[in-house]
Structures are given as structure tokens and as C-alpha cells.
Amino acid sequence: MAKNPNYLSGKEIRAIAKENAKVMKRLEAYKHRKCDESEYLTEMKDKSNILEIENLNTYFFTEQGVVKAVNGVSLNIPKNATVGIVGESGCGKSVTSMSVMRLIQGPTGQIYSGEIRFNATEKADDDRVVEKVYDIAKMPMRDIHKIRGNQIAMIFQEPMTSLNPVFTIGQQLDEVTFINKKGATKEEAKEKSMEMLNLVGIAAPDRVYAAFPHELSGGMRQRVMIAMALAADPRLIIADESTTALDVTIQAQILDLLRDLKDKIDGSIMLITHDLGIIAEMADYVIVMYAGKVIEQGTAKEIFHNPMHPYTIGLQKSKPTLKSDSDMLFNIPGNVPNPVNMPDHCYFKERCDMCLKKCSGDYPGMVKVSPTHYVACHLYEEDQK
């Protein structure tokens, strides 16, 4: 009988558990260590970026083996830009963003290696604004409050469950002001909260302020989430599928809102979605991810008008259009490979219709197509032309 790759013997499971426990223990201890700030201060490679992720590996240590959810991802987010990250479910988009916020649920989920450099601005004691570059991946959990909320804010994908059901909207919004402004009074906090509710276009801020989350609709809750994310004037907003759960009209309103707000607060947006329409409308730069790796990146124009990776081409094709007469939607054949024990060759090889002989070899490196456009595919390597 052929060996089923999904079947693990008891011995194998125990070996995996033992190995996992060792690594998880080391990483957990590292996460909770006490250390001086100098240990995680670093320098940006490019001063015009607000966030630089370099060779980030975020792993989940499961009973079946190590799942490399984010497998050597490198990407940059420039100041005042919107960067869209696209890819299908399970490609590591959300895990990348959660890694930036250090919200990966331990002990099973861990940032294994890599750098997340973030350009933070802080008020010094004499009220001067100083820039500091933190390596978020190395920050201990006890210092993580330096970036969460006040520097990087996140809008989650589930507005229905992302608000605490037992506190009023006002209580939850005020909290943000209390954290970020030492010695803020109740009145100050309320004033700021009302201002934020007005900013996100809520018609009756008084009523919403006193309401409990279950008394609001999904769109209203998502607005509240955005207000909450923006209340601390963050420099980077991560919108993780923040419009997926909403209907199209509300979606458009929320996106308009985000775009306006980005200009107002002069920040950057990391927009995570699997909706190409949203990306086309919002993003300056696009990063396409597949199975935990970045496979193509470039400006929105380059990705939409000149997609190069067979996967990106497939993605573009599978977008439903009104013009086509076909009854069938295009889809890319096959499935994402099993996240445990990924092959050594290109992860897309089994589903690719443009395969070369070379594709069975090593994983392709990034090929530079233009100063901003990169693709990880053997098709475009120099010696191929």
C-alpha cells in the first residue's frame, strides 16, 4: 500500500511534538525577555519607506508539522502610499500583517526569523519629534505598546465580532485616548471620540457613543473600528480585508473614507484583500502573494496592465467582467499545495500552464523587470530570453 502523505504514525507525531516544543519554548522565552531598547533599534535601508519587511518567516508549529505561513517575505511600504497585498485565502496575507502587529497567537504561531523595520516617530521629553526605527520582530512583548495603536493601527475583517460586546462604543473609543495621552480626562477622551465618530461619517455620534456594539449594523461597526484605529493618529493603517464582510455600497463608502483619511493623517495604508477591484481603485503598489511567498510586486499599473507571473495572469483572468459572453468563470486549476512539507521547486508549478524544464529545479529568485516591478518566475530569467 502506498504511503499516504497525510498519515503520520504515532512515532512521527511524537517526534514532531518534541521538536516543536523545543523551538516554541525558545521563541516564547525570546518574546517575553527583558531587554534594553538598543537591542531592537535599527536603521531603515531606504529613508522614504515607513515599513520594511525583510525575509520574514512566520511559522505555525502544528501537530502535523511546521506550517510556513509566511515564508521569506520581503516588502516595503513607502511613506504616504497605499500598498495592496493580494492573494487567495491562506496565502499568508493576514499572517504577514499580524506579524507586523505582533498579534500572532502564541505559542503555536511564532515569528521565526526576519526583520520588520518600522520608522516610528516619538515625542521626546522636550516635545521634539524624534524618529526611531524599531525592528518589530525583535521587540519583546513588554515593549510592544510602543508601536501598537499609536504607530500602527489595524482594522480587522470581522466588524461583527471585533468589538467587545459588554462595553459601549464610547467606552471602547475613549480607551484609545486614555492609552495614548497620559493624564487625559474623561471629557477630553469623549471629545476626541466624538470627533473620530464624526470623521468616519457617523450621523448620530451621540447615540452611537452610548450604544452597545450589538445595537449597530455591520457598516456602522466597521466605521467604529476605523474610528478606533485612527483615534491615536497612527502612521500606518493595516486594513485586513476590512470591507469583505460588507455589502458593496457600504464597501465603497468605507474605501472612500479610508482614502480621505489617509491624506488627512498623512499616513500609509497596507491594504489586504483578495478583491482585485479594490486594489485597482485604491493601491499605488501591489504585492501578489502565493503560498507564503511574494511572487510578484510592482506599481498598480504594472500589475494590472502587464501581469507577468502565471499566477497573477490567472488571477486577472478569473476576475468576472460584464463584457464577457462566457457563462463560465475562469479558474486556475488545482489547489494550493499542502502547507506542511512544501516542495523545493516553485510552489505554483503543479498549477502552471507555462512550465519550463527548469521549474522542477530550485525555487525561482526575484527577477527585476523594471525599477519597481519584480517577479519570481523562471520564465523571465535572463538566460531564458
Partner: protein, 330 residues
């Protein structure tokens, strides 16, 4: 709100009627005969009781007719007395049932109340640490210890503690409620109560922590994995605030509901523990009544508990409305 409470109270009356009927029929069908036992005792003393006297005694106690209609008649007689706030007279004690309940309730209530307070004070923090440090050594140690607590039968563990703390170390008196040889008053009497109740309370606390801790841990884990906890963390709140404010407030909701089952248990007495430590609590009296077929007392005691259960559930629902803003009582 007032309308809701009134409605619930009216429904409660119907429930209590049903409960009383079931209990009465069950007791009458129980294979215990108070009269026969009494006659046997007299017979053993050498005297003989005539057939006629036996018949008269059965009739006197209202147990003469064991047919369905006879039992029904007995039930309505009991119910009629209850309508006049009379729980009847205990066969065994020859005293009004109500006064027996009142005089024995104090001890049981004191033990249960103190034990419950300690149970919550210990179990909830344990459950929270176990949940926030899931799968750590701390979690395993706490879980194993409380599981041992759950698994120990009270008659065994009570005796082990008695043997250790009282017999071997001589720290506490082994049984009873007061030191009969000394006549204490005031503070000293209170101290004497404390010494006598220490081991029983300790037994009850250790045995009951487990369930409450497991419940807290499960709820806490569920809450800790929810989206709003992630939101709270993303805001930049410290882990302490996330756990103690955002998570705990939500864990409280099911804990409050569990208070419903608590109200009757505060008064019902710990039957086995009271036996082991020979405490004059209501549980002990109830067990004795059950063994000897003391119908008025069993009825009175069970109805008292049924009333507390119904009130407890109502109270829990009202509390639900207070701790969970999503619940509206109409």
C-alpha cells in the same frame, strides 16, 4: 421589568405545584414505613400492639389508604395545610417542620457560604491563569491538582483530612459544632465554631474548586481567542488590562449564570460532609428523615429547596440582564 418578574413568579407557583405533587407521590411510594418501624420498636420492648391500635395509628398519621385516591387525598390535605402556611409536624421530631428547618439551617448555611466564597476566590484566578498560560507547566499543574480534588469522594477525603489535621496533628477538633465540655460565650464561642468548621469547610472547598476552575478556564479560553480581544491588543492595551478588563468581563457572564444553581446549594447542606463531621446541619437531618420515612419533613425540606431553585434561576436571569447588555428582559 416588574412585569417580567411578576410573570416569572406566577409561572414559578405552577412549577412548584408540579414539583410538590411529584415529590409527594414518590415519597408515598417509597418502601419506608414510619409506623411499622415505630411498632417494631415497641414490639422489641416486649409490649404488643393490637391490630386496632396499628390501624388507628396509620389513620392518625394520614397514611391509612395506599391506593391512588388515598395518596391524592393525602396530597391535598398537605397542600391545604401549606395554603395556611403550615408545613406540618415532623413524625420523628414531633416539632413543626418549619422550625426544624430554621434551627438547622444556620450551620449548613455558614459552611456553604464560607466555602462558596473561598471556592470562587480560589477557582476564578486559577482558571484565569490556567487559560492565559494554556499548555504551560502552570496550566498542567493547576489542572492536575483540581482534577484530583474533583475525583476524591467527600467521605474519603473528609476522613483523610480529619485523620491528618485532627488525629495526627491535633490542630482541630474532629467533629461536632461546639466543644461540649467548655461553655464559651461571645468571641470565644465564635472561635470555637471556627475551629470545628475548619476541616469541613476545607473539604468542601477543595472538592468544589475543580469544577468552577475548569469552567472559568474554558470560558476564558473561548474569550481569549475571540476577535475583540485581538482588537483590544491591537489598540495597544497592556496584556494585564486585556485580561482583567476585556476578557474577564466576558468570562463573568457564564459565571453569573452558574450562581443559579448556587442558591439552593447554600441552604441544602452538604449531606455527606455533615455526616462525616457529625455536624447538626440540615443535610444530616434530611438524610435521617429520608431513612425513617418522615413524610412532612421530606416534603417541607424538598419544597424549600425547590422554591430556592426557582428563585435562583429567576435571580440568574435578572443578573444576566445586568452583566450582558445584549440580554433584554421583557
Amino acid at each position: 421589568m416588574l412585569k417580567y418578574i411578576l410573570k416569572r413568579l406566577l409561572v414559578s407557583v405552577l412549577i412548584l405545584l408540579g414539583v410538590s405533587m411529584i415529590i409527594y407521590f414518590l415519597i408515598r411510594l417509597m418502601p419506608v414505613d414510619f409506623i411499622q418501624d415505630k411498632i417494631n420498636a415497641i414490639n422489641q420492648g416486649g409490649a404488643t400492639v393490637s391490630e386496632e391500635t396499628v390501624k388507628n395509628m396509620y389513620a392518625m398519621y394520614g397514611l391509612g389508604d395506599d391506593s391512588f385516591l388515598g395518596i391524592l387525598k393525602g396530597y391535598f390535605t398537605w397542600l391545604g395545610a401549606l395554603a395556611r402556611f403550615d408545613l406540618g409536624t415532623s413524625f420523628v421530631h414531633q416539632q413543626p417542620v418549619a422550625s426544624i428547618i430554621v434551627s438547622h439551617m444556620g450551620t449548613s448555611f455558614a459552611v456553604a457560604l464560607i466555602a462558596t466564597i473561598f471556592e470562587f476566590m480560589i477557582a476564578i484566578p486559577l482558571g484565569i491563569t490556567a487559560a492565559t498560560h494554556q499548555y504551560s507547566i502552570r496550566d498542567y499543574v493547576v489542572t492536575v491538582l483540581v482534577m484530583i480534588g474533583i475525583s476524591l469522594p467527600s467521605f474519603f477525603f473528609g476522613n483523610v483530612l480529619k485523620d491528618l489535621l485532627s488525629m495526627k496533628l491535633g490542630l482541630f477538633p474532629p467533629s461536632g459544632l461546639i466543644d461540649a465540655t467548655a461553655s464559651y460565650t461571645g468571641i470565644q464561642l465564635l472561635g470555637d465554631y471556627f475551629m470545628h468548621l475548619f476541616i469541613p469547610i476545607l473539604t468542601v472547598v477543595i472538592l468544589s474548586i475543580g469544577a468552577r476552575m475548569r469552567m472559568t478556564r474554558t470560558n476564558m479560553l473561548e474569550v481569549m481567542n475571540s476577535d475583540y480581544i485581538r482588537t483590544a491588543r491591537a489598540k495597544g492595551l497592556s496584556e494585564k488590562v486585556v485580561i482583567n478588563k476585556h476578557a474577564f468581563r466576558n468570562t463573568l457572564i457564564p459565571l453569573v449564570t452558574s450562581l443559579a444553581g448556587l442558591l439552593p446549594s447554600l441552604f441544602s447542606g452538604a449531606i455527606i460532609t455533615e455526616q462525616v463531621f457529625n455536624l447538626p446541619g440540615i443535610g444530616n437531618v434530611a438524610l435521617d428523615a429520608m431513612n425513617r420515612g418522615d413524610i412532612p419533613f421530606i416534603m417541607g425540606y424538598n419544597m424549600f429547596l425547590a422554591l430556592l431553585s426557582v428563585l435562583g434561576v429567576l435571580l440568574a436571569d435578572l443578573m444576566y440582564g445586568i452583566v450582558d447588555p445584549r440580554v433584554k428582559l421583557e
